[in-house]
Symmetry: D2
Subunit: 328 residues, 4 copies
């Protein structure tokens, strides 16, 4: 199957939510205690997806709140530089700081993060910061689970979704589950269910769907069936190195393998996957081709040092796919 | 039109939300500063509706959280005494107190309230406190706007609504807007819109619908049209002494007058209206008859000292209606 | 020993801290669940002491913050009516409510209270609300333990103490320990020790001194010795029905019995004790006589329904003392 | 004058308070937006003073709370490595993070910092975390203004001061004013005055003394006179490039010049000053010599990249002093 999208929109994709700072260990394969230098990158799932999409050539925009300080200005200028429209990025006027993520790479399989998320600027986006006219200009609106973790960002997403529905803009929900800042798994489940019910495309890992369902017992088929009975037309369930599965509302099920990679770290895999998957879909490729594109993009990013800066070009993705004798 | 409801349910109506303490001035027609004695009653819109419905003969249940102290025990024992099932009323284990409302009656037209709502027990109801099996036993689930004002009560209502939809239990949304505890009108609007979209019946005053719409410009017709395009089948807009209007999804519009009354105070009018309106509807009466029932019940309560204790019987309502030569 | 005080001051006593609302069960000798009516009084230890002192004929003033609503206006007008100067009582401009205390009298020996103390107005008194010129006009400044429980009221007391020391106004510390609103017993001990070190007279029960010392092992002698080694000249330790003991810095120890009473409830005993004790001391009576005055005043208040309203006159106290053949 | 200290103690100096992470721009002379790499150091005034003192050869200990994560472990291991006893450094068990300070060096005169101080571990030190037996082993206890900014760290300092006074350990108060986390200047003034009244030595800049006094009108002489009338014996007022002035309780006033330096940034000047000043005093030098030592140490640190790592040795300080023909 291929999906069709509006052709007369200013933006291919508008993402709403978190844009933060990643501080990546410059010296790695060691505990963070022994890392003495950190490199600064833009981070945060929806920001990374906007950046990744933009690098692939999509026209993208971003709705979010950043700190009114050096970090906030860096985020905005970097995103502008790679082509993301930041006209709807607002500065926090109440002194909230940008979120931080220190990454630790002990080994390719032992990666962890240390997050500063207490009362950060991105979670202070307000409903009145969201413009209906802006959302109306997008082929798709991408929402991200983390933006639902706290008020008033939560209500800003409700507002964005309400506008998207009124403007017939399909919604893509990237589950992006981070346990920080949520009060309880019951709370997460309540808002994840709500968001999934509003969305045309839902993307997440098997673990994230368990959070959505507040249950560990469901099969992929059960999960997909429940979501497809609502507004969703396409449900992607990712299984890491075991690949991913797409369920469509016409009953089609598509399996895709993951691509082997010289893994440096695991960060950024999901965001690069979503960028490339949506790029392919928006360019008229089949769901199968989009799954391959997403998988290839993830394989490239996990072999590199950063998340945002490492987002591949279309040529890099095609080269990797060609190498695996799977042309798009 | 008449609406039809399940016939094989244990409860006619289950209400979820706030159950508090009213402290009504014993000496009135004076400022509260000069009132030296207060009488204690159960209060809170959904509790009052459960109590009022129960007095009219409906089988009712209540889902809510009360303080683990003398006030919480009073609320529970009073509601049990008038026939409300309180098996799903949970005690707060974290020391939160029951909300309080001191009422001041300077004159029939100058009534005001002084509320204690900071971190009260009812706003601490949690999603895991709500039982799907219990909600499945109801003909209708009544939700109230105030319960959406704060987490985790907000998520408990989302949970209850999710269960009701899965169990095909129609939802009645009583707007019950109280500015306290809401962060902003934008926040209120977001959750009021969400709740209205889930509901089969929506009841509120014109002012409350303006809050829902975060706008003052809409006519009753515009408001009703927007809501009826979603899941709603019946929208009631109340105009105080100017009566109320019902909009149905088949296009029927029904106007009803308010009944003259020897007004002592204005408190409790909305709750008694909802109780009697739903009683009539659940008993197979037409929308027109239900509007009359609601109006008569409100006229009785505003002539008496309390809200909960003053909820009328069916005979009292019929007597008032007969007196006005409008038999049901 | 008699203590000497300035003679040229406008006020005998200025109290700083809590002024709240008591809601006393009109029907008693039953659990509060069965009480349906409550009578309203001014409450709060320093407010009661100011009221009690004023009824005894002292010139008193009060520094505190009350809610800008009907309850706050009642507190201010009642205190003015009994002669307390309220020119330094400020209205809360941020919506904080007045504290509430519901009293339950199951039997004379089973009294309990239900307090509403979450973010109340009195705990929001600020350092800048306190006037050095006002404190300079007092013979003594009375501070109360509860006002130290939270910022910014805590800092307001620090400020008041700083002014009193600069103006050579002796400080009386009434321990008035209420576990509500304190974070931990260690926190209480820290500020109680600080306050006791600044004070000339310290008054409390044995249990309250244990809180001050964060220890249960000390004898009255040990407690008094530690405090008298600092600025204190007089330490009163109360033992309920077993009477009270005064320790002076010249080594004098005075024991006093409690007076038998037809006890209705135990509330208000401490505040009436402090009022009458300070009245006697300020009027040139010996410590022994002051202890008797305090004990007699407490015996009268515990036989009556309220705390503030029941504060006795000098004649009532003298009559009780005469009856016990102990003239002042 | 020279001051005398106990000779039989295990530690020369124990510091209590903040130990955090500094993230210093690796590329400087530019806005932080353009800095892409940051180097990690231990930071926080009392931690820096303990580190600086230890590098000078003093036996030092530290009382504080750090995060239970990679940053907290780095702080502890670094301080141990330079010889600070960390047996009384406790790990936060509630998930609070270590404070962060990003430094920006636009030019030697345009330095600024970006701090993460929201609910950090160091401000969660509790009174019960402080050991009287440990403090008893110190020649001096150093307290730092920032630790007074929030509960429960504030009460932990009260507790430490109470122990020090009982154990006759003189207290040194380094004002270390940071506007973050204080509610108001009135609040700061209240606790700064309290701390200064408990202290034998007080060290701060002129601006910081204005904060203590909540006033800008006082001369150095007025400030010193007020403090020396309490427990203080020595008051140091720093004037940046204009040098510093010491006021002693015997009336002696000593002026000292600042030393010229090839300034890279201004951070760390105060902490290195305090370390060397106290080192000299504890080693029997005169106040004049101690002022020179402090000034020389500051001149060295401002010419280097970090604060903690750049703390000089005695030889470096002596070399600089010799170079200025001012031998110690």
């Amino acid at each position: 199957m291929t999906m069709t999208f509006s052709t007369d929109k200013r933006f291919d994709l508008i993402a709403v939510g978190r844009a933060c700072i990643d501080l990546n260990a410059t010296e790695y394969n060691r505990p963070m205690e022994e890392t003495m230098t950190f490199s600064k990158y833009v981070g945060g799932s929806p920001a990374n997806i906007a950046i990744g999409s933009s690098k692939l050539g999509l026209k993208t925009g971003f709705i979010g709140k950043v700190s009114d300080d050096q970090h906030g200005r860096f985020i905005q200028s970097y995103m502008e530089k790679v082509g993301v429209d930041t006209s709807q990025m607002v500065k926090d006027t109440e002194g909230h700081k940008s979120g931080l993520t220190f990454t630790e790479i002990k080994s390719p399989k032992e990666c962890s993060i240390l997050m500063y998320r207490t009362d950060v600027a991105d979670l202070n986006l307000r409903p009145e910061d969201v413009s209906e006219g802006y959302i109306a200009q997008a082929k798709i609106l991408l929402i991200s689970g983390t933006a639902l973790a706290k008020s008033p960002s939560r209500e800003a997403v409700f507002q964005a979704v309400d506008y998207a529905k009124r403007q017939n803009v399909p919604i893509v929900f990237e589950l992006d589950y981070r346990p920080y800042t949520w009060q309880s798994e019951e709370e997460t489940s309540v808002y994840y269910k709500w968001a999934a019910e509003q969305s045309t495309i839902v993307i997440g890992t098997r673990d994230e769907y368990n959070i959505l369902e507040n249950s560990e017992g469901n099969s992929d088929e059960q999960t997909a069936k429940a979501l497809l009975s609502s507004r969703a037309e396409l449900v992607i369930i990712k299984h890491g190195v075991d690949g991913s599965i797409a369920f469509e509302d016409d009953g089609t099920i598509t399996h895709a393998k993951a691509y082997p990679s010289n893994v440096l770290k695991t960060f950024g895999a999901g965001d690069s996957y979503a960028s490339a998957f949506l790029y392919a879909l928006l360019n008229g490729n089949s769901v199968r081709e989009a799954l391959q594109f997403g998988g290839a993009s993830a394989a490239i990013v996990v072999s590199k040092h950063s998340s945002s800066e490492a987002m591949p070009t279309v040529e890099e993705i095609k080269a990797l796919l060609a190498q695996h004798e799977q042309s798009v």
